[in-house]
């Protein structure tokens, strides 16, 4: 542990009492949470501000920032602080009174930091990034930044296609943060001490594996609007290699996570048990870009959770992963948790569990008597559709899982589907309410009348499919918003014809935000202008229904001179240079094309434990790729959330 952590309580706040008393939830802006790191600035060489570009209670729930905050602050020479998006009430005041955006820890302006790191978790927070920059009084465009401005660095899932944001960032970190950030800081420190220029620093950092400096690459376009060439214009590599942690048991994990005073969205201790997923659902970007699945050892998890509870006082823990059931030693882990947590009166929440006798038994043990709802994510309404998307799950398995759950006392079921996946027909859409009806029938067939506690309550939710980079569906056309709404109506009409329609509720996701998400998910550098125009028209907090205004976005698209359909509704050629092709995720394009062909042929692919599909990640020699054969092999997936 370093010596630079001090125990002085900074009483100075960046905002006056007068401002704090007239805005909503002043707790968002005062910092000083339990386990906040305090350091002596006179002993610090590098100041890093980590940003989640959404409101505090959302950003504080993000595990990635907690990991990086802990990692950076373990360095004696570095002080990592945090900032979140000021809510519109404070945004207005800061603009009127020219108050520069500040970090929560020291309450000092971010413009004086060395780095501003922004996590890119979803496309609809892009305008908030411009808000953060502008309020910080840092030039919005990277090209206008001077030697005195912080280096702005982006990371997280959306950085797998960073191009729409290329003009606003100095660096993108591609991949998992635990690997090369220390190297980056070492190089930066050395160059800074030598008085190197910003340009020089960026060129050097651009030679660290995984760091992409957009200003050092140029893009040219064909007449049809597709990319003609993407190439470096300085001495930097032409491909950027995704960073992967090869040993998750021997890396950083915060044992003293920050505990907010106000209730965050995730108000519990989080234990990340593994990274990656073996399933290979073809629509799922996370299932591809975090390959291969890598587990943290049971021993490390046991130590971590006790330390975390001791340092935070949380009364609930949750296991974090893409598919909890695939953790090979889940039984042992849960046994340990049930024994330890029972004494401490700590609840265990188990998201992403496959529904079967085992998981229901576990849930009966860990959750108190009230049975909340179970969540299944079949994603497609017919077997044909589920084969296309490689959701290797049969109707029998869903109905058996549901029957088990109903016998166990649950009577609320949530079902998640997507509309608009490739090759989807009206029959596939109609399959959704038909499946829901079958689940309702299963309830009445399984639970005798006298044991029923009210009706069964089934909720269908559909989202609007957005094709994502580095998935087998990266080439496909997104359906139009009108077509999405038509399919939604087909679903709704079919639902009304079902015998049990009164037990089934249907929610659908709004079409506008998903369509815009489609623009930025696969957009090129030219689409970045739309973000700027929208921001200038007043768009911020677009992920919040109350603030989202599609008419402003339509105007922005027009002002930017962008043809949105070119990006959303166009099927890409197999030979086309895609905006994100310069990133080497380790997953080969051949594999993605093979999977796309298999999707069209309605063929499923084995999960990583059943057989290697040759995606290309075996090169890391870690995780499932080097597991001995015969590990727990599951062939179904249903998500549970209780």
């Amino acid at each position: 542990m370093d010596d630079n952590r001090v125990n002085t309580f900074s009483p100075e706040l960046a905002l006056s009492d007068e401002i704090l008393s007239r805005i909503d939830k002043p707790e968002r802006y005062i910092g000083h949470e339990v386990n906040m790191v305090v350091k002596d600035l006179s002993k610090i060489d590098v100041r890093f501000c980590m940003c989640f570009p959404d409101v505090y209670e959302v950003g504080m729930s993000h595990l990635g920032i907690q990991i990086l905050y802990d990692m950076f602050n373990q360095r004696e020479d570095t002080y990592c602080e945090r900032v979140y998006s000021p809510w519109p009430d404070l945004d207005k005041i800061m603009r009127e009174e020219h108050i520069p955006l500040f970090a929560l820890e020291t309450q000092q302006p971010i413009k004086n930091f060395d780095f501003l790191g922004i996590t890119l978790q979803y496309e609809m927070c892009y305008t908030n990034i411009l808000q953060i920059l502008e309020l910080s009084q840092i030039p919005i465009f990277a090209s206008e930044r001077t030697e005195d401005d912080p280096i702005v660095i982006g990371g997280g899932p959306c950085s797998y296609n960073p191009e729409p944001l290329a003009d606003y960032f100095d660096i993108f970190y591609i991949g998992e943060g635990e690997t090369v950030y220390y190297e980056m800081l070492d190089v930066y420190k050395e160059l800074r001490a030598r008085g190197a220029s910003r340009r020089e620093i960026l060129e050097r950092l651009g030679n660290i594996e995984g760091l992409y400096i957009p200003s050092l690459y140029s893009v040219s376009y064909n007449e049809d609007g597709t990319i003609a060439e993407f190439k470096p214009i300085a001495d930097v590599p032409s491909k950027i290699k995704r960073q992967v942690v090869t040993n998750l048991s021997e890396t950083f994990y915060p044992r003293k996570p920050l505990v907010p005073y106000m209730k965050a969205i995730q108000d519990r201790a989080v234990l990340e048990i593994q990274r990656g997923c073996i399933r290979g659902c073809r629509f799922c970007q996370a299932g591809m870009i975090y390959r291969p699945i890598r587990e943290r050892s049971l021993e490390v998890l046991k130590e971590n959770i006790i330390d975390i509870l001791n340092s935070t006082g949380y009364d609930e823990i949750t296991l974090s992963s893409l598919s909890t059931s695939d953790y090979t030693r889940l039984g042992e882990l849960l046994e340990y948790l049930i024994a330890e947590m029972g004494d401490r009166k700590v609840n265990i929440s188990l998201p992403s569990l496959r529904i079967d006798a085992f998981s229901l038994d576990i849930m009966n043990k860990v959750q108190d008597v009230k049975k909340s709802s179970l969540t299944f994510a079949p994603e497609g309404g017919t077997q044909r559709m589920r084969n296309v998307i490689n959701k290797g799950l049969t109707e029998d398995q869903i109905l058996e899982g549901a029957a088990e759950a109903f016998t166990g006392g649950w009577n609320k079921v949530k079902l998640y589907f997507m509309l608009g996946q490739p090759t989807e027909t009206d029959d596939d859409v109609k399959g959704i309410p038909i499946l829901a009806n079958e689940i309702a029938k299963t309830y009445y067939a399984t639970v005798p009348k006298e044991q029923r506690q009210g009706k069964v309550a089934i909720t269908i939710s559909t989202s609007y499919f957005v094709p994502k980079p580095f998935t087998p569906f990266q080439w496909v056309a997104q359906i139009s918003p009108d077509e999405y709404l038509r399919r939604k109506s087909v679903l709704n009409e079919t639902l009304k014809q079902q015998l049990n329609y009164k037990s089934i509720k249907y929610n659908w996701h709004d079409s506008a935000t998903s369509y815009l998400e489609g623009l930025f998910a696969r957009g090129d550098r030219r689409t970045g202008r739309v973000i700027y125009e929208a921001y200038k028209l007043g768009c911020i907090f677009d992920a919040w229904t109350d603030y989202f205004d599609m008419s402003k976005w339509e105007k922005a698209i027009e002002l930017a001179g962008i043809d949105i359909e070119f990006y959303t509704q166009r099927e890409r050629g197999r030979d086309e240079i895609l905006p994100w092709d310069f990133i080497d995720t380790g997953i080969s394009k051949k594999f993605l094309l093979r999977e796309w062909d298999k999707a069209l042929a309605e063929q499923v692919t084995d999960n990583c434990r059943e057989g290697c599909a040759g995606c290309g990640c075996a090169g890391w020699k870690t995780g499932v790729c080097v597991e001995p054969k015969g590990c727990a092999a599951w062939s179904t997936e249903v998500n549970i959330e209780a």
Partner: protein, 259 residues
């Protein structure tokens, strides 16, 4: 058995709301591993209650909560129970909160109702200071000027004010509910240990009716006072610090910690 715990809330956490202070102490108790008692039922919670909630922005050296601990577990752990609990809590509070005292409450006699701290509170002491940058706008040249203006205000026969609640508006004579006031020079050091300090030295101390029957907030008094001088009241000019909570009748008040 139940313990009454006195604590201070100071510094930047003055902006933490009451519910979040409760959540904070639930975590302090979990971290301390003290054998707190839990309620029965589907979602057990710690048996904890707070006296008079503090407004956001106000600091305090006189906050109280009552926490119930498991008799058997506690007696197994320690002989000096109050010290044991004090130490457990003090080791787990973070800056902005400080445990000031712990008092074990006598066991209630069988079949009698024991009032919680909230129901016992009858008065509170407040220290009010003029913040930096507001010396001019409050309109007093010095501490003496401020205090004599307040004395003149208190010399009136009655001080009629309108007190707004969520449901209705009430007329009341404020004078009846201001039990005591001074220039703050005689304030008990412990009561103002965590109060904010400002350059002007302008301050007032007042003891006001508090609790679930009549609760007079210092703002109400300050507003009436400033308005009586024909000036507009700006609540941002004053830093409020709660010094102590009392129980008992107006003429026989006792700090809650001396139960």
């Amino acid at each position: 058995m139940t313990f009454r715990i006195k604590f201070a809330k100071y510094g930047v956490v003055r902006f933490i709301g009451h519910l979040d202070v409760m959540r904070y102490f639930q975590k302090v108790i979990r971290r301390s591993k003290l054998p707190v008692s839990y309620s029965q039922g589907f979602s057990p919670h710690q048996l904890m209650s707070f006296a008079l909630p503090l407004s956001v922005g106000v600091t305090s050296d006189g906050e109280y909560m009552e926490v119930e601990f498991d008799d058997e577990a506690l007696l197994k752990e320690a002989e000096k129970l109050e010290k044991y609990i004090f130490d457990g809590l003090a080791a787990n509070t973070t800056e902005g909160f400080a445990v000031l005292g712990v008092k074990m409450l006598p066991k209630p006699k069988p079949n009698t109702h024991q009032d919680k701290a909230m129901a016992l509170v009858s008065a509170a002491d407040y220290l009010i200071r003029v913040k930096d940058g507001y010396e001019e706008s409050v309109g007093f040249g010095s501490q003496d000027e401020l205090y004599s203006a307040f004395e003149r205000f208190m010399d009136r026969e009655t001080i009629e004010v309108t007190k707004k609640t969520k449901k209705n508006e009430n007329q009341l004579n404020l004078k009846e509910f201001i039990y005591r006031y001074t220039n703050g020079d005689d304030a008990d050091a412990a009561g103002i240990a965590h109060a904010r300090r400002f350059g002007s030295g302008m301050q007032l101390m007042m003891r006001l009716a508090a609790g679930s029957k009549v609760n007079i907030k210092p703002d109400l008094v300050l507003e009436a006072f400033i308005n009586s001088l024909g000036r507009e009241f700006d609540k941002n000019a004053f830093a409020i610090h709660r010094m102590e909570l009392y129980m008992g009748e107006k003429d026989a008040l006792n700090p809650l910690i001396e139960c």
